[in-house]
């Protein structure tokens, strides 16, 4: 059998060689003389065609065969190793790839992954030459390569150029000419600050960059680069790119997609980049800033990076399920951003291509999973100052309250107030209760972590679920207790300061206690009645009361909505006093369609008899009320009196003001991470098939074995993980980062797949350059500004982007088929990013505001975009300069992103994006031409042009300088002059036509009014005549006065509708309403404005405007 097989193989090999010989004649293929490279030729083949079934993933592995390592592929278990090094004829792999039998053939015909003849030949040659395996290039730590030799020693400006040029020379190509200085200036402005220069700036730098001898002034160019790197706009431009990776947005995502206060994180990114914070520090602060010793507010804000995950607030969701999805997002984002690895696959199973196992994936998750997700309460300094003033004012008003006590006079006032106060004390005192705090001896819950605090209260931390249950045991029940008090208490650690732990869907800090039950040694204790100090339902008007927590219906309960950070009290009266020496158990259940348990609460008991009712008193007041009158100090008495005054209905209008002044201003709540306390870590589990509902083994934090080792002595936590990410030993991070920045300048990365440095990713076009950049980046203290400086100072960067003039065939590299664009035989033209397009337009129109930071703003956009999302929120465009801020500050709503940005391929902030798509669509054309925001800019630029001195020609020049940073060519000027002349007459004719229509309308209107006026006058005259006749008839009667009625007098002097006097009784013949005789003249300024607005619209729409040339 074996023999027979070998004969078949030999035959097949023979025929293959014939084909191969023909194939190798093709100049683009690897010539027979070339050595087969495992990394370049074989691994991509094996990875793409074989690893899905014969790779690292055990679950998916077929026939127990793995081809991803030499040992496994050459193992001789069954007598026929897949690969026999040096002997293709006895390699089962070869037999299978050459087989024509559909049952034997590999890859199987059904897989759609057939091998080409050339690929088969490569595999055969590789096996025959020893089947050497190499580690995947990106897992080998980079070392600084020697600078390559170049023939054209004049051309390189720095080390980078040597690598580029050496490659070009090897491919038989050369670099392009230098770009025109203006083009270069615009390019470097766009790249470094995301804005074009103003005409003045451009002129200045053109002068600077041209040395006296007409040569390019390198020093001046370096000066320009340093100038741009120092501008605050640098951080905005580069911050926006980082925010793509951070999946930044201003809303929570999913259905409700409510606002979140994420902008302080965005501003942190911008500040950090402007300060050139070293990238390793930049990383550590974002991944684990909260864990740095003595972490600053800024370092905690930085952890917003991983709080950019979405939060599902849809009623009824399982919050822990969506927390799990957020965790998978964090792992994926970390993989893409730092490691350039696609970890997402391993959520469900071991990676099919890259050496990351299913368990290792959850090991990575474990590093990130041990954090709580609180809000950092950033005080608003202005509001805090105002609040302190308010408190003083409130105290003042409080002191003045007695003066407002209703009374006849001063003497009576004091007396009557004292009487009322005494009466109040007499009423309240009997209601005050001596509460004994009950400290639980046992605490149990379904999920949250309950701990007893110093004051005997209980604090719930950790995760909360939709339906939580708390069970508290009390060993020492106060004997004779008749009443139990439940205090819902605020706590600074809770969402909105508590007392509840609600953090989504409902208002932050709310709670919903649906049932409470008490047992004594396991026997139910009957609760006779229940009362509360305050209750409010967030949803509708149906009652939420303490009484509903003992009605046996879990859908009803007690809630205290609308009072975040305040205490509320419920009191439960037992039907029998409790006997001594027994164990009391209190069980509470919480939850509605969202998690709403207590965050902090306390139980107390009292043996006071009588039906005690919950009061709004603070514990202090309740204590004071229990002190006998004669024992009260003056201060205590005043406290009680203040309490009385503040609650006196007679003073309601004054006390409301005091309460308002005492209400503390809202904090700015910023989502951050906070590592869990060591006594309550969050476990991480492996999830079968990646499903939330399938947790299996508990997994400890660990890094993938294929990567550099985690330091042995370092604790396995998030901070050390962050340090591991940016460790010098990490073969990936510096390469991934350098590559991404390279792509930002040149359109394509040295590794094209910016997000995938794994086996399925592309090989680098310039591996040595990439390593040089990565090592330099680390050597130079991870300075991103230095990297940028280095890049833009190269001759490579300064090449022209024009395509070669000749109609020659495209210059494609001999060896690899890489295009001249990839080889950088000229500067690649790239379309600008959405934000840059908008900013360039705004700047050219003189509208751009350079105000930095702060809450997001809303430039105008058509109605109906945000309305497609849940709740149909209206888009209220910002006013003033906020309409024209840089695009990085535009409000980003995930379910309804700003339309213009989306149209130009900006991401929605729902996932980490390393590389934006670049599309070219009709919708973009429509936006540029017709969108309100662009029209507004066109009008502004049109106005500037129309009002600028000089003729059409100079205006055209000015328009080009503003938008395109260059003078127009002669033919462009001619074309635009024709356009302007044509538009001027077209628009004037349109205005004339409009004026004629207006005129005709006005004539018609005047005639109509005149006719109406005439008619009215005639009627009036007729009426007056009639009245006069009647009067005359009356006058002729005896005994009547002849005096004229007053009315008529006044009518005679009163102006009529047309502003003229009318005299009744006379016939009015002269027309009183003037009929226009000719159309109004055309407003020439308006014509000019329209003409130049259209020029601006056209310029905004040009390909060149949208392009980095």
């Amino acid at each position: 059998m074996i023999r027979h097989k070998n004969i078949t193989i030999a035959r097949q090999l023979h025929s293959l060689w014939i084909i191969v010989t023909i194939v190798t004649a093709h100049p683009h293929s690897v010539s027979a003389a070339d050595e087969v490279s495992f990394s370049r030729d074989i691994r991509p083949l094996l990875s793409g065609k074989c690893f899905a079934c014969h790779g690292p993933d055990e679950e998916a592995r077929e026939a127990a065969l793995r081809l991803d390592s030499f040992q496994a592929a050459t193992r001789d278990d069954s007598g026929t190793p897949a690969i026999t090094p040096g002997k293709s004829s006895t390699s089962e792999l070869v037999r299978r790839i050459l087989s024509n039998d559909p049952d034997e053939q590999m890859p199987p015909p059904s897989s759609n992954k057939s091998l080409s003849v050339e690929q088969k030949k490569l595999l055969v040659r590789w096996i025959d030459s020893g089947a050497k395996y190499e580690q995947h290039w990106s897992f080998i730590p980079p070392s600084k390569p020697e600078l390559p030799f170049v023939k054209n020693a004049e051309w390189p400006s720095n080390e980078i150029d040597r690598f580029i040029l050496a490659r070009l020379e090897a491919e038989g190509l050369g670099p392009a000419e230098a770009a025109v200085t203006r083009t270069l200036i615009r390019r470097v402005f766009l790249d470094l600050i995301g804005l074009q220069p103003t005409p003045k700036e451009a002129d200045h730098w053109v002068n600077q960059l041209s040395a006296a001898d007409g040569q390019f002034n390198e020093e001046a160019y370096a000066e320009l680069v340093d100038h741009l790197l120092s501008l605050p706009q640098y951080g905005e431009r580069w911050g926006r790119r980082w925010l793509d990776l951070a999946r930044y947005a201003d809303t929570n995502g999913y259905e409700k997609d409510r606002d979140r206060t994420m902008w302080p994180y965005r501003d942190w990114v911008i500040r950090a980049l402007n300060a050139d914070m070293p990238f390793d520090q930049f990383t550590i602060e974002q991944v684990a800033g909260d864990m740095l010793p003595g972490s600053t507010i800024d370092q905690r804000i930085a952890t917003g990076f991983h709080r950019n995950t979405m939060l599902n607030e849809e009623g009824g969701i399982d919050p822990l399920e969506f927390r799990f999805y957020a965790m998978t997002d964090r792992v994926a984002t970390t993989g893409t951003t730092w490691l350039g690895l696609t970890t997402g696959c391993c959520q469900c199973h071991t990676h099919k291509y890259d050496p990351i196992t299913h368990r290792e994936y959850y090991g990575l998750m474990a590093f990130l999973n041990n954090a709580d997700e609180p809000d950092l309460n950033l005080p608003d300094p202005a509001a805090e100052t105002r609040f302190q003033k308010n408190l003083i004012e409130a105290d003042k008003l409080l002191a003045e309250l007695p003066r407002h006590w209703p009374a006849k006079d001063e003497e009576d006032r004091m007396a009557s107030l004292e009487t009322a106060f005494t009466k109040w004390l007499a009423t309240e005192r009997p209601l005050a209760v001596d509460w004994q705090v009950m400290v639980p001896s046992s605490l149990k819950s379904n999920f949250p972590h309950l701990t007893v605090q110093d004051d005997g209260s209980i604090f719930a931390s950790g995760d909360t679920t939709k339906f939580d249950t708390y069970e508290l045991g009390f060993a020492d029940v106060p004997a004779g207790a008749t009443t139990i008090r439940l205090e819902a208490l605020p706590d600074d650690r809770l969402p909105a300061h508590g007392p509840g732990s609600t953090y989504y869907e409902g208002r932050k800090g709310d709670f919903f206690l649906n049932e409470i039950s008490v047992t004594l040694d396991g026997q139910p204790v009957t609760i006779k009645s229940a009362s509360h100090s305050y209750a409010k339902n967030q949803f509708g008007k149906n009652p939420v009361t303490a009484a509903l927590t003992i009605d046996g219906d879990y859908q009803t309960g007690w809630s205290a909505a609308g009072r975040p950070g305040e205490r509320s009290v419920a009191v439960y009266v037992l039907s029998e006093p409790l006997p001594a020496g027994k164990t009391l158990d209190v069980k509470m259940t919480f939850g509605r369609h969202f998690a709403s348990s207590f965050g902090r609460f306390r139980l107390s008991a009292s043996s006071t008899s009588g039906d005690i009712v919950a009061r709004e008193w603070s514990p202090e007041i309740e204590r004071l009320l229990q002190i006998d009158d004669e024992l009260l100090t003056d201060v205590q008495r005043q406290r009680l009196k203040n309490e009385f005054l503040l609650n006196a209905s007679q003073l309601a209008e004054h006390t409301k003001k005091i309460r308002d002044l005492r209400r503390r201003p809202a904090w700015i709540d910023i989502p951050v991470l906070a590592e869990r306390p060591s006594e309550n870590p969050r476990p991480t589990f492996l999830h079968d098939r990646g499903e939330y509902l399938q947790p299996k083994d508990r997994i400890d934090a660990r890094v993938p074995e294929a990567l550099h080792p985690f330091p042995l002595d370092a604790p396995k936590n998030r901070l050390e993980f962050a340090r591991w990410l940016v460790s010098r030993d990490n073969p990936l991070t510096a390469r991934v980062v350098a590559n991404r920045h390279w792509a930002a300048f040149f359109g394509t990365g040295l590794v094209k797949t910016l997000d995938d440095f794994g086996m399925q990713g592309e090989m680098p076009s310039h591996p040595k350059l990439l390593d040089w950049l990565a090592v330099s980046l680390m050597d130079e203290g991870w300075s991103i500004k230095r990297l940028h400086r280095k890049i833009v100072l190269t001759s490579t960067y300064r090449q022209t982007s024009d395509f070669p003039k000749s109609d020659s065939t495209p210059r494609v590299a001999r060896q690899t088929g890489l295009s001249e664009t990839r080889l950088l035989a000229r500067f690649p033209r790239t379309r600008l990013e959405a934000e840059v397009i908008r900013d360039v337009v705004m700047k050219s129109a003189g509208l751009l505001s350079l105000k930095q930071g702060g809450p997001p703003v809303r430039p105008p956009q058509p109605d109906g975009i945000s309305e497609a999302s849940f709740g149909r929120p209206k888009w209220k465009a910002s006013t003033g300069e906020d309409r024209h801020r840089r695009s990085v500050y535009t409000y980003q709503k995930r379910t309804a992103p700003f339309a213009m940005l989306t149209t130009f391929d900006a991401p929605s902030g729902e996932a980490c994006i390393a590389r934006r798509d670049v599309s070219n669509t009709a919708l973009q054309a429509l936006t540029l031409l017709n969108d309100e925001m662009f029209l507004e800019a066109a009008r502004a630029l049109g106005k500037l042009l129309a009002e600028s001195p000089g003729g059409d020609r100079s205006r055209i020049e000015s328009a080009f300088a503003r938008v395109l940073t260059r003078p127009p060519s002669e033919s462009e000027t001619t074309r635009l002059l024709a356009f302007v002349t044509d538009q001027r007459s077209v628009i004037r004719v349109e205005y004339q036509a409009a004026r004629i229509v207006e005129f005709e309308h006005a004539v018609k209107e005047a005639r109509r009014k005149e006719a109406a006026r005439k008619k009215a006058a005639e009627e009036k005259a007729a009426a007056a005549k009639k009245a006069a006749e009647a009067a005359a008839a009356r006058d002729s009667l005896p005994g009547k006065s002849t005096a004229k009625p007053d009315k008529q007098d006044s009518a005679e002097t009163k102006p009529n509708e047309s502003g003229e006097n009318s005299s009744p009784g006379k016939t009015d013949t002269k027309p009183k309403i003037p009929i226009p005789t000719e159309p109004k003249p055309v407003d020439e300024d308006a014509v000019e404005l329209d003409v130049w607005t259209n020029v601006a619209r056209a310029l905004f729409s040009l390909d060149e405007t949208l392009t980095k040339n």
Binding site: E255, N312, N920, T974
Partner: protein, 484 residues
Amino acid sequence: MQSNQNSLSPQPSLDVARRYFLRDCGYGLGKMALASLLTGNANRIACAASSTAPLAVRQPHFEPSAKRVIQLFMAGAPSQLELFDEKPLLTKLEGSPLPPSVIGDQRYAFIRSDASVLGPRFKFAKHGESGAEVSEALPHLSKIVDDICMIRSVHTDQFNHAPAQLFFNTGFGQPGRPSLGSWVLYGLGAETENLPAYVVMTNSGGLSGGAALWSSGFLPTLYTGTPFRSQGDPILNVSTPPGISQQQQQATYSLINDLNRERLGAVGDPEIATRMASFEMAARLQTSAPELMDLSSESKATLDLYGVNPAKPSFARSCLLARRMIERGVRFANVYHNGWDAHSNVEGNVKNNAKATDQASAALVTDLKQRGLLDDTLVVWGGEFGRTPMVETNPALGRSLGRDHHPQAYTVWMAGGGIRSGMSIGKTDEFGFNIVEDPIHVHDLQATILHCLGFDHEKLTYHHAGRDFRLTDVHGHVVRQILS
């Protein structure tokens, strides 16, 4: 100097462009073919690999039975128990809970699993030759049951709106994956040069899933669905702004074209030609969109059939527009109607929503059939999940006589495009809780829709983040029983 309408014609730029295209064949191909497509010359440019053009017309894996899809998405999830799935036992059981063995460990959004049963609020009757059972709430659909295929055994993975809507439309419960329409466009390309090939219309309220429902996900952004707005410009910015005359607009287009052409000559980047083509298509859109929206050419009989008031945005108008769109080459039209989320008063909810959708949904099928379009147009009607046999009553939320979300079983109907007509498939238990016959997962529906369009759903893939993705993830089976 051209300032007349002729300059809007694609020809002059194309000749220049073609030279560069051909020279540039090795790379930038996608762009090139896009340009050719946008300029209406898809087939004229000879370039071996032009199938890589993102919007060029492409052949699917096998002979399709449907060329286009109209999806009527009932957001909020209609109650199958009030519309399609008659369960008399529920009337008898009303007031008592379901056996726990039936409910299993299903999680619910609002109710708890021991909630009582609520009997159906509408009467059912058999209709048509097929004898399909439909409730009295759908008098119009009742008349066309012989033209549709009723699937009473659809189930999904998600039990909340946003995730479930995303799941139905993108095959995944979180945002970020390409929508069904995007996959179709990616697979088939675009037939129309005057309208977007994938159109989305929404009515009655914002959607839980938001713009992610028609997102192209990780596919190139130009496969994103284009929302047609019910008010204002149908396509964003498709109208020339007020104050700018047609003549000015034409001249501006012409100026842009001339300046871009000059630039193309100077720089030689074929991308400029693509940009020029996009302006040419924009100019065409400015004409074709109003023409599409103008219903004056529709007969009174047609308007009456749908129950359309041409002046008023409505689900009915969107259905009629969907028909007009596919007549004009639109590949995928998705009409969203929102409002079926009956947590309280399921009876009133069903009445109102049926009133808004029943007539037009049925009319669409009838109209397509009359015009001979139903044979190769697939119509899909359904929501993101079903509703519970148990009642939702919640005093704290002020709810009563409602139904909660039910992912285990619900009804979807399909018509035309290779789907058997006059048939029903799938059966639920007597509580309407679980499926007892022919369970059909949402991934199966997706696989079937792709099948009708000529695709093996396992082979319509896109390489992203290190692996090949597809609409049906690693699931889905074509429901062959419902294919004609």
